[in-house]
């Protein structure tokens, strides 16, 4: 069975590191430190099975990135989980409306993230 590929887009190095370590046990983890980096990876032909995108990032933010992905027929079917540290009401609705499949607010349990990923990949 092919190992599922997960793209993590987050500007925080420590979070990238945290997710790569924990998800790396089970999946192949691709890392991007901002939206532009993620788009570059996709352009290079890296096709993830699932994307985890942080909302608050310098440059293009998570919402714009999701919007763009969902409008691209190549990627619009890829499951997508949004992460945020913000607690603004409406953010979750905005994310889901733009096409995200799930939404998690920091801090969350790493195992919880794993369960969500499994559900989306099943």
């Amino acid at each position: 069975m092919r190992q599922s590929r997960i793209l993590v887009v987050d500007d925080s190095p420590s979070i990238r590191r945290l997710l790569s370590h924990n998800l790396g046990k089970k999946f192949k983890v691709l890392l991007a430190e901002n939206a532009q980096g993620a788009l570059d990876l996709l352009d290079q032909g890296q096709m993830p099975d699932l994307m985890i995108v942080d909302v608050a990032m310098p440059g293009m933010d998570g919402f714009s990135f999701v919007d763009r992905i969902r409008k691209d027929s190549t990627y619009n079917a890829v499951p997508l989980i949004m992460l945020t540290a913000r607690d603004k009401s409406g953010d979750k609705e905005k994310g889901l409306k733009l096409g995200a499949d799930d939404y998690l607010t920091k801090p969350f349990d790493i195992d919880e993230l794993g369960e969500r990923i499994d559900r989306l990949l099943a």
């Binding site: 925080s12 420590s14 979070i15 590191r17 945290l18 370590h21 924990n22 608050a56 990032m57 310098p58 440059g59 293009m60 933010d61 714009s64 540290a85 913000r86 607690d87 603004k88 607010t105 920091k106 801090p107 969350f108 349990d109 790493i110």
Partner: protein, 736 residues
């Protein structure tokens, strides 16, 4: 003609001159005045001229005979005693003469004593007859009813007036008793008294109610006198009566109207008085007595009308009275009236002269106590003054305008500086011109509630003379004064309030953003810490030593971030509550800034930003809290590094300028937009950059500003959007 007997003129008519002379002598001697003529025609001439009282007429005369003269006198009703003188002594002739109407017939030679008696009797009788004739005429013509009765009351004579008044003819009453007129309205005692009075020989006077023949009653004023035929014996009674029914009726009517007047005037609550021409009060109505406190006896003893006024008013009263009598209008009827007990009250006194057939009889007047009116006037005046003071004391501008035309009619003191107009300008302005032009067409707020005549308050803008727009809340009220509709507006300047409302809204927004920011900034490191610690706990047996070290390093770094964030929040909350205490000392700023830059250098390198330091100015000393100065440096230089893109450059220069330490931090980042420069030192304010989210709490620069102000320093920013920023911090140098 009537003369006393002694002066009586006796006309002697005789054709013999000797006889005329002799007879004239005799007549003169008897005390009469003789007048003689020689023939009948002359005699008739004297008679018709009325020059004689008796005639001695010779019968046989040439021409007109004595008989013819006698006949003429009798036929023409001259009523003169004529004594015929005859030479013949013919009896037939004598009889004929007497028959014709002669008084006496004497024959020649005339006996003197006989002539004397005859003349005397003839003249007396003639005079008596004449008197009776006159009296009878008087009786008959008199409007007074006359009746004569005998002593038993039987009527012997009534005059025509009696008949006219009573309705009885003479024939019906002669011989009847006078009591046929009795009406039965008087008591027996009344008549008894009457009869006793007249029977005693005294005159009775009084009023009767009698009855006419037709049964009608009539009032008669009567005088009944006894007539005596000698000193003692009463032979008749004479009753003179006047019909006073009408008089009595009008007297009653007068009494009635007088009573009505008294009762009416007694009903009046205001004193009414009358004074006679000498100035004494002759009448008071009930209120007159009670208000002034006088008694009827005071009026009887003489009460000068002037006592109704205080002494000081009396000259004015006299002047006004005189003017009133001269037909002038009295303008001021107001006086201070005085009561008997000396107390006073303000009063209006109106009076008019009492005239009887154009003669001034006195004055009649009415007194109106105006104490209450005066009090009300005073209260009104006091209130007006009070309201005027209040009006001007209102700290907000107040404008009063005519509700119909919108013309400004009144304003308080505060309105002048507020609107910037002078009183003369306001007085000719319309209220609409106090508003900006774009809302003048609509009914200005000032009038909006006027139609409903209600109070109201609206927020709007006004335009001052100098062209400033000011936010105001206008409270308006509608009222009427002296029939004029007015609307009053109180203008409250709410521009400060608006500003602070905006500030509060902004603060709330900033605080909400701050909370969101802080939670974000707290959550991110917390999430890392939690994630790595749980990873370590779970995987520690599988992880190599190096990875454990790496994870612990991350945990440490994130904890440090968390700590510094919490520090910032605590600092700003200390500043907010004013609890911060600086530990000031004389310090060398270069050392402090240098140490601050050590940690910043690492950050710059990570971000690939060049950090140039020029801190070599020596011998600088400032009086400051070293930690606070360090924070200033970290925040400003840290910001510069944060906002400068990769490959950018940040220079930090410390220098001295006269008595001032100058720290200059220069970067070539994106700069600060013009609109944000003023605000970057405000708490929680963060410059928005589209498509970018820069970490921060919005507290760095507010903390800087607070610290610098607490050290009597200053901070300036120069920035051109897109070409970098320069922050210049100045601290005063320390002087020992």
């Amino acid at each position: 003609m009537e003369s006393p007997i002694e002066k009586a003129v006796v006309l002697i008519v005789d054709d013999s001159a000797t006889m005329r002379t002799l007879t004239s002598h005799v007549v003169e001697r008897l005390g009469y005045k003789p007048l003689s003529v020689s023939n009948g025609d002359e005699a008739i001439g004297q008679v018709t001229a009325g020059r004689c009282d008796a005639l001695l007429l010779d019968i046989s005369m040439p021409g007109k005979s004595g008989m013819e003269v006698l006949r003429y006198i009798v036929e023409n009703d001259y009523r003169l005693p004529v004594i015929m003188i005859s030479g013949s002594g013919d009896i037939d002739q004598a009889v004929q003469c007497i028959k014709l109407g002669a008084y006496e017939y004497l024959t020649k030679p005339i006996d003197n004593s006989r002539l004397e008696i005859t003349l005397k009797n003839a003249l007396s009788e003639s005079m008596l007859k004449q008197r009776v004739r006159l009296l009878t005429t008087a009786m008959e013509q008199s409007p007074v009813s006359v009746a004569i009765t005998d002593i038993k009351g039987r009527i012997e004579y009534i005059n025509p007036a009696f008949s006219r008044i009573s309705g009885y003819s003479m024939d019906e009453v002669i011989g009847k008793k006078i009591n046929i007129l009795k009406s039965g309205e008087h008591s027996d005692a009344f008549y008894k008294n009457l009869w006793e009075t007249v029977s005693r020989g005294e005159v009775w006077q009084g009023e009767f109610l009698n009855k006419k023949k037709n049964g009608e009653l009539l009032w008669e004023q009567a005088v009944i006198s006894p007539i005596k035929n000698n000193k003692h014996d009463i032979s008749h009674f004479l009753a003179l009566k006047e019909d006073i029914t009408e008089k009595k009726k009008s007297r009653e009517a007068l009494a009635e109207s007088e009573q009505r007047f008294r009762e009416l005037s007694d009903l009046l609550p205001q004193p009414v008085f009358e004074a006679n021409r000498d100035g004494y009060v002759t009448y008071f109505n009930r209120a007159g007595y009670s208000v002034f406190g006088y008694k009827q006896s005071d009026l009887r003893n003489g009460l000068d009308a002037m006592f109704m006024y205080v002494p000081g008013e009396r000259a004015k009263v006299r002047k006004n009275m005189k003017g009133r009598l001269d037909g002038k209008r009295v303008e001021n009827h107001e006086y201070i009236a005085q009561r008997k007990n000396g107390t006073t009250f303000p009063a209006l006194v109106y009076y008019a002269p009492i005239l009887k057939k154009d003669d001034f009889e006195g004055l009649r007047g009415i007194v109106l106590d105006i104490t209450r009116r005066k009090q009300a006037e005073k209260t009104l005046l006091d209130n007006q003054k009070k309201y005027r003071n209040l009006f001007h004391a209102i700290p907000d501008p107040v404008i009063v305008a005519d509700a119909d035309t919108g013309a400004i009619v009144q304003w308080n003191r505060r309105a002048l500086p507020f609107f910037g107009y002078k009183s003369v300008e306001l007085s000719s302005m319309m209220v609409a011109s106090l508003y900006p032009e774009n809302i003048r067409d609509k009914p200005p707020a000032f009038f909006r509630k006027q139609g409903r005549k209600k109070r109201g308050s609206v927020e709007t803008k006004i335009l001052t003379k100098n062209g400033f727009l000011v936010d105001v809340a206008v409270s308006s009220a509608f009222f009427e004064t002296a029939g004029q509709k007015r609307v009053l507006g109180i203008f409250r300047d709410i521009s400060e309030q608006k500003k602070s409302e905006q500030l509060i809204r902004e603060n709330i927004r900033l605080k909400n953003d701050f909370i969101a920011n802080v939670s974000h900034e707290l959550r991110s490191p917390l999430f890392s810490i939690l994630g790595f610690t749980s990873t370590l706990l779970r995987d520690r047996d599988e992880l190599d030593h190096e990875t454990i070290g790496e994870f612990l390093g991350i945990i440490h770094e994130e904890s440090r971030r968390l700590s510094s964030l919490i520090e910032d929040v605590l600092t700003i909350s200390r500043i907010d509550s004013g609890k911060i205490a600086y530990k000031k000392n004389s310090i060398d700023p270069a050392t402090i800034i240098d140490s601050a830059c050590k940690s910043l250098k690492i950050r710059a390198e990570e971000k690939h930003v060049e950090l140039f330091l020029d801190l070599y100015e020596s011998d600088l000393l400032i009086y400051a809290d070293p930690d606070a100065l360090k924070q200033v440096a970290v925040n400003i230089i840290g910001n510069a590094i944060k906002f400068t893109p990769e490959g950018g450059k940040v220079s930090v220069t410390l220098s001295r300028n006269h008595d001032t330490m100058k720290l200059e931090v220069d970067d070539n980042g994106p700069g600060i937009p013009e609109k944000d420069i003023e605000k970057i030192f405000e708490k929680f304010y963060r410059v928005e950059r589209p498509g970018e989210e820069i970490e921060g709490t919005g507290l760095g620069l507010p903390i800087v500003k607070e610290i610098i102000l607490a050290h009597n320093g200053s901070v300036d920013v120069k920035s051109r959007n897109g070409f970098g920023s320069t922050f210049i911090v100045r601290f005063p140098l320390y002087r020992s």
